[in-house]
Subunit: 153 residues, 2 copies
């Protein structure tokens, strides 16, 4: 099948200005995916600290639904990124940056769930889906969510 390239098609030699925009969107989605784990762990650790006074790797692993070795490795990444501190055999603690991240994530999560419920999503579905959705909600979108919820109160 030789030469299907029609002028105006999306083939390589034709410059399509909207293509970079799409690539950017995918790139941003990829970046959000890579931040997802850090956000989830920070939020969970903050929750454990608030609830029980300490965050142990075994608890983190069980709540995340992963093997404890996986939790250890990820917590190592959090340490490298300056979000938590930990002494061997002594539990995990959030740095200031970690706390800030956890607070932001928690607020965003609540707002996403609220928005979903407000448009008619059953609460269980809202909670489940929000766990994935929240990481892709930009500040602008979050502000819009807040505005929408405010307006219908």
């Amino acid at each position: 099948m030789p030469d299907k390239r029609t002028p105006g098609s999306s083939s390589s030699h034709t410059i399509m200005p909207q293509e970079p925009a799409q690539a950017d969107r995918f790139g941003r989605a990829r970046q959000a995916r890579s931040a997802t784990l850090l956000e989830d762990y920070a939020e969970l650790i903050a929750d454990l600290l608030a609830t029980g006074g300490e965050a142990r790797t075994v608890d983190v692993a069980r709540r995340m639904g992963v093997a404890h070795a996986t939790a250890v490795k990820t917590i190592g990444r959090l340490k490298r990124e300056g979000l938590v501190t930990a002494l061997p055999y002594r539990g995990v603690f959030l740095t200031e940056a970690g706390h800030a991240l956890a607070d932001r994530v928690r607020a965003r999560h609540r707002l996403v769930v609220e928005l979903l419920v407000a448009v008619g999503v059953p609460v269980e579905d809202a909670e489940a889906d929000a766990e994935g959705i929240e990481h892709h909600v930009s500040d602008g979108t979050l502000a819009a969510f807040a505005g929408f919820l405010q307006a219908r109160k």
Copy 2:
């Protein structure tokens, strides 16, 4: 700081019935993340086929914003999963399953963008965020979105 464990904390020996639910949610979010790439590629390939009559790896790579070698590797995974077929140096084609997936993804994407716009998200933000959000929208949530949009028409 010895022995911070207080009875009633979320420590390992206390069974907390809501914990498995949370682990399940994280597990589902992880699974959605792993399906994300396949969905994006299927949708993009369908788009290229519809627009230009063919889907070439170089076009896929540019639109996805990745190196062409990465696109080749991912297309290989799509082949393994039975979503596309490809002959060497001859472009990529969707199988029936691939087409079905692409159609579902496309419909879901449109609905997500519509919903976001309906609650006040600027169109550009809606398009950008939808790229990540859509993969985490379950059927139940999607139905709720459709109902909400229907109701306000």
